[in-house]
């Protein structure tokens, strides 16, 4: 995915190039292109670290600090996760990134029928505060921040994190948590949603409002264009939809009487890096500019720092192939190059074998080295935004800006993101595009190096005989023991806790959910009383109901 469309002539020359976002590319660019568009340095770029931040958020960028790389952790039991956390901190990591298993993500306890086969498989199984206490035991929560990859029940996990910290003697204004907490993107591209759209957004709003008032060091939302892109959106749509999702959350919180200035500075983003390199670079530069402009012009934010498009530009999973997996090493390197040329603050890279297996330590290390090489050896730290002034890149950045705004306008015309997602319009568009691209790939219209296509089959013989197409998949292991242990813990918990206290707090939670009271304080109390994730999410399920996804075709 992500490859541009090339129309070639009989001799292999390229007649036409069209990027996924719809932008056509000329054979060459010159000063006239910029002049035609009224390009000026002050308006369109700004100095590094100055509005609109097209070049960079900071004046020195990599000269002062290399990019931050993040690695995910958390699988199986809280005990194992705790060990892994301690190991990473000993190795110098100063932030934790936590993955949760699917039952936890979906608000089910480990003994729920739907949890079968999933307990602890893709992340940590969390059923109650006890599990968090085990996972974070001995971790200096005033110094180490935690990113939580959790969305539908982010409110519950945030509350649980706070309760854990309080149990260990920290105060809530000391701790830093960054839940992903972007339910709208789940509904477009990741699937871990529970409640209907408006209620999902209400919960996000509750968590932001609460963070503003009670968790000053926490970043309540990380908006993920990443998954939307993985589902079939173009690079321009990735940014456009992410910004419209941000808008939906901002508007929800503003309605509560909180000024955008007080919270938008803590939003962060998660964007993808695969595909055509120039398209990605233009995308990121345009995104920085547009976000700053949107916040300044539409939401009246004046503090410079709060206009930053903070985020992780990385991943690239959809660009990798099962066939000839070593090619993914090079792909990863080029994607990372694009991210570096875009001035990504934080990055991560999918491992070359990720298309068909859980990354081995070796492949994970390769990814890390790929990123290191760019920073420390090949020269990507030498100067800020080296491509600035390039006739091509600046023209492309302007065109990308136009495309993004176009896509944003379309969403607004259709009543905003919440409307579009409720009615299925975005999902429909994105699935269609994914389908068309896949068709194009199979027919040879789009080319991915190393993959069989009608063209290459003619040369190299039948696809079925192509050795590399037989790369096998390996899977996340599933350990029955994890499930057994979790279920046993649950049983014990239910027997030893104060049932009355749990029930009272759950009742108070339900009351808050039914009205427009912020659910967070009630969730914290529920966590302290050892209510389970399933019980708390159950209250929400009862009050809000479950979302019936719309059709997508």
């Amino acid at each position: 995915m992500g490859v541009a469309k090339y129309i070639k002539d009989e001799r292999g020359g390229i007649k036409e190039v069209t990027y996924q976002s719809g932008i056509k590319v000329k054979p060459s660019y010159g000063p006239q292109d910029l002049e035609d568009r009224g390009f000026t340095y002050e308006k369109d770029l700004g100095a590094p670290g100055e509005f609109p931040f097209t070049r960079s958020l900071h004046p020195q960028s990599y000269r002062s600090r290399a990019w931050t790389t993040r690695q995910y952790t958390g699988f199986g039991t809280p005990e194992e996760t705790n060990e892994r956390f301690k190991l990473m901190i000993a190795n110098g990591q100063n932030g934790l990134n936590v993955a949760f298993d699917l039952p936890t993500q979906m608000g089910y306890d480990s003994d729920h029928p739907l949890a079968e086969g999933e307990v602890g498989r893709v992340g940590m199984a969390i059923d109650s505060l006890k599990d968090f206490e085990t996972a974070f035991a001995g971790i200096p929560l005033d110094r180490i921040g935690s990113g939580l990859t959790i969305n539908a029940v982010a409110t519950i996990m945030m509350a649980m994190y706070q309760a854990t910290a309080e149990k260990f003697g920290y105060s809530k204004d000391q701790i830093s948590t960054t839940p992903q907490n972007d339910i709208l993107k789940e509904m477009i591209g990741r699937g871990a949603w529970i409640f209907p759209v408006e209620h999902g957004v209400r919960l996000v709003g509750d968590s932001i409002e609460y963070a503003v008032k009670e968790l000053p060091k926490s970043n309540p939302v990380s908006i993920c264009g990443y998954h939307i892109r993985e589902s079939g959106a173009t690079p321009a749509q990735e940014i456009a939809y992410a910004f419209e999702i941000a808008r939906a959350y901002i508007d929800n919180v503003v309605k509560r009487g909180i000024a955008p200035e007080d919270f938008v500075g803590r939003f962060s983003f998660n964007f993808n890096v695969y595909g055509n390199m120039w398209e990605q670079i233009a995308k990121f530069r345009a995104a920085r500019k547009l976000w700053a402009k949107m916040l300044k012009n539409e939401y009246g934010v004046t503090d410079k720092k709060k206009l930053f498009l903070r985020g992780l530009f990385g991943g690239g999973g959809s660009g990798l192939t099962k066939e000839q997996p070593e090619n993914n090493i090079m792909r990863g390197a080029y994607y990372a190059l694009g991210a570096a040329l875009s001035g990504a603050q934080t990055t991560a890279l999918c491992s070359f074998d990720e298309a068909y297996t859980i990354p081995t330590p070796r492949s994970a290390l390769l990814s890390l080295r790929t990123l290191e090489l760019l920073m420390d050896e090949v020269g990507l730290r030498d100067t800020v935004d080296p491509l600035a002034g390039s006739y091509f890149v600046e023209t492309l950045t302007l065109e990308m800006e136009e495309k993004i705004l176009e896509e944003m306008k379309e969403v607004e015309k259709l009543g905003g993101m919440v409307n579009c997602i409720s009615s299925g319009l975005i999902q429909r568009k994105v699935s269609r595009q994914a389908y068309e691209f896949e068709k194009g790939l199979q027919s040879g219209e789009y080319k991915k190096v190393g993959m069989s296509s009608p063209e290459t089959d003619k040369i190299s013989g039948n696809a079925a005989n192509n050795e590399s197409s037989k790369t096998n998949v390996e899977l996340h292991e599933y350990n029955e023991e994890w499930a057994r242990k979790s279920k046993a813990n649950l049983k014990e918990l239910r027997a030893t806790r104060d049932t009355k206290e749990v029930e009272q707090n759950l009742a108070a939670l339900e009351k808050a959910a039914k009205t427009s009271d912020n659910v967070m304080p009630h969730l914290v109390k529920c966590c302290h009383a050892y209510a389970t994730v399933g019980e708390m999410a159950g209250v929400f399920r009862k009050t809000f109901g479950e979302w019936n996804e719309p059709d997508f075709y």
């Binding site: 699917l102 739907l114 079968e116 086969g117 699937g191 099962k322 994914a434 899977l475 996340h476």
Partner: protein, 131 residues
């Protein structure tokens, strides 16, 4: 009247990766089949219920979680109990090659691991009715 192949594309379990399922649904539609898409987070009971009411010819499970063996085993037993063993069960998604014989032995009619072309899948499904 023409005989149309009716396919239920189902996503069992909690995994939310539905891109593959949706793309296949569109491809099958373009190949002239009638596709019922189950939506995410389906229990096996729901799948049986839907397949029965909709009188489908094929149940197509899209499994990206690696739990295909236990899921198929269970579903086949439930299909027998519900009296719909005549419906063909096919599976797609993240399926290691070495698991294919085991699946077939259980009674899965066809397996289409990720990366199988649309053409192969459509033909594979049509072939189920020409035996």
């Amino acid at each position: 009247m023409e005989k149309k192949i009716r396919v239920l594309i189902a996503k069992p379990g909690l995994d939310g990766h539905d891109k593959g399922a949706k793309i296949i649904a569109l491809a099958l539609r373009d190949a002239g089949m009638e596709v019922i898409y189950s939506g995410l987070h389906q229990t096996l009971e729901q799948i049986i219920h839907t397949a029965t009411q909709e009188a489908v010819d094929i149940i197509g499970l899209s499994i990206m979680s690696g739990a295909h063996l236990p899921i198929c085993e269970k579903l086949i037993a439930m299909m027998k109990e519900a009296g719909i063993s005549d419906i063909n069960l096919v599976v797609g998604g993240v399926i290691p090659f070495q698991d294919i014989p085991g699946l077939k032995e259980m009674g899965v009619a066809a397996v289409f691991p990720g990366g199988t072309s649309f053409e192969e899948i459509v033909q594979g499904m049509k072939d189920l009715f020409t035996k």
